[in-house]
């Protein structure tokens, strides 16, 4: 469903992302794990067509994001690191705007779809409140709702649980698990346990390169912790023996 091939992004001499390749199968949840500044957000920004890649390609359902951006973007719902919210709007106004902006065409009426999305992320109780007056957790969820509008086949979620309290984190994880099958999901995090709780497969990214890739069955929390410790705390590189 998503084919990322030798993706590179350079800012001057600095290579933020260096030859990253992975595939995500239809209906799968892929976790992109890595310390802050590893290149997770940059990778996601390239997949969604927000920025261009210096080299490499991204294909969503066979459509190249750079060559045919409009068609590719029709299939993608994106929640960036900082939710893109217009704070002077109410939640309902904002989601209506996103619905019109995405030129959504669904079999269900607009109102029903928006209500369903708000229900999915539990924001129905704040639908008439201005976004600027919401707590961080609610803002994050409104951002999530925005990504779900139009029922895109692919969801790209950049640290969707950041800023939420433990209850809300559990809720959002539940939502993501619930979306599995219907959507193909890439979701980034720097919390190890989250990967084990939600993902089918994990790609660990560090310093712009893929450090290792593992399927769910192979994910061992202790082992991941060791890898993460090596990357994060010692700032070192992985040796073959570490994996």
């Amino acid at each position: 469903m998503i084919e990322v091939k030798e993706l590179c992004k350079s800012y001057g001499d600095k290579k933020a992302v260096n030859s990253v390749s992975f595939n995500v199968n239809k209906g799968e949840i892929l976790g992109l794990l890595g310390p802050n500044g590893a290149g997770k957000s940059t990778t996601m920004n390239m997949i969604t067509g927000y920025i261009s890649m210096s080299a490499g390609s991204v294909k969503v359902n066979g459509i190249d994001v750079l060559e045919n951006p409009i068609e590719a973007k029709k299939m993608i719902g994106y929640l960036p690191e900082q939710p893109p919210l217009y704070k002077d709007m109410t939640v309902k106004e904002y989601l209506n705007f996103v619905y019109e902006l995405k030129k959504v065409k669904l079999n269900v009426p607009k109102k029903e779809h928006i209500d369903h999305v708000m229900d999915t992320v539990s924001i129905l109780d704040v639908k008439n409140r201005k976004i600027k007056n919401l707590s961080k957790g609610y803002k994050q969820r409104v951002g999530f709702a925005q990504a779900l509008i139009g029922k895109p086949e692919v969801l790209i979620l950049d640290e969707p649980t950041v800023g939420l309290d433990p209850n809300q984190i559990m809720e959002i994880r539940e939502v993501i698990r619930g979306l599995k099958g219907e959507h193909t999901i890439i979701f980034s995090t720097h919390i190890l346990s989250e990967v084990c709780a939600v993902c089918d497969r994990v790609v660990i990214i560090n310093d712009g390169i893929i450090a290792c890739e593992k399927a769910k069955e192979e994910i061992d929390l202790e082992e991941l912790e060791k890898i993460f410790y090596t990357l994060n705390v010692k700032g070192g590189k992985l040796n073959e023996g570490d994996i």
Binding site: T48, Y50, M53, K73, P84, L85, L101, K103
Partner: protein, 232 residues
């Protein structure tokens, strides 16, 4: 484009921006109109529109500065640029919203025409031509402001640079080098100079083409600027 236009309009009128712009514009223009009409006893609106242009140059950046700069600081451009919408639609939606606010402020000057018609003596053709020139002038100014807003993520910088550019282009004709060809080039770029024929009651095709082509140029530059982040 429609969705973006609607959101921009909503934003102008749910925040104070739209009201402040129109309110201050009406306040200042009415003072100048009263002066021209009742003190100087000039019974036409042609005298007031050049004044309105100066007011416009000081106020329009308030409308245009936020157009893209705000999207960048709030990171909402990440939404606009990752949904299936063409960059041209984004730019045109934003442009027409700012232009509409300008048109509303222009309509607020229509009572002056009625007052002048009652107590003065106005020529309909001349008034129509003056307004055409004024609206074309506003259209160009809006496009310049939008383009500059695309260049920065700081709204204050956007506003100040817009002031600089528009005031320079407006007062360019004052510069006089004495060298024929240089003066000709300077006067070509003077956006005020091209309005003279309109205020004399002539809708000159060259003037219309001048304003429209420069408006189009700045809109095109805005699109290229926003698209540039997607270039390899």
């Amino acid at each position: 484009m429609k969705a973006i236009y609607k959101r921009e309009m909503l934003s102008y009128f749910t925040t104070m921006t739209g009201y402040v712009f129109i309110g201050v514009f009406m306040f200042l223009s009415s003072i100048f109109f009263s002066q021209i009409m009742f003190v100087n006893r000039v019974g036409s609106v042609n005298g007031i529109l050049p004044m309105c242009m100066v007011i416009l140059m000081l106020l329009l950046p308030i409308i245009t500065m936020r157009l893209f700069a705000e999207e960048k600081t709030e990171k909402t451009d990440q939404l606009l640029l990752t949904v299936p919408v063409k960059v041209s639609e984004i730019i045109m939606g934003k442009y027409f919203a700012a232009f509409s606010v300008f048109l509303i402020s222009t309509m607020a000057t229509l009572p002056y025409v009625f007052v002048a018609a009652i107590w003065g003596d106005i020529a309909i053709g001349e008034t129509f031509a003056s307004y055409s020139g004024y609206i074309l002038f506003g259209a160009l100014l809006t496009a310049i402001g939008l383009f500059i807003s695309c260049l920065t993520e700081n709204q204050v910088v956007a506003a100040v640079v817009t002031y600089g550019v528009t005031l320079l282009l407006f007062f360019l004709s004052i510069l006089n080098t004495g060298i024929g060809i240089v003066d000709y080039i300077i006067s070509f770029f003077s956006i005020a100079e091209w309005n003279n024929s309109f205020s004399m009651g002539v809708i000159a095709p060259s003037g219309v083409i001048y304003y429209l082509s420069f408006t189009f140029l700045f809109l095109l530059l805005s699109m290229r600027k926003i698209e540039s982040r997607r270039w390899r």
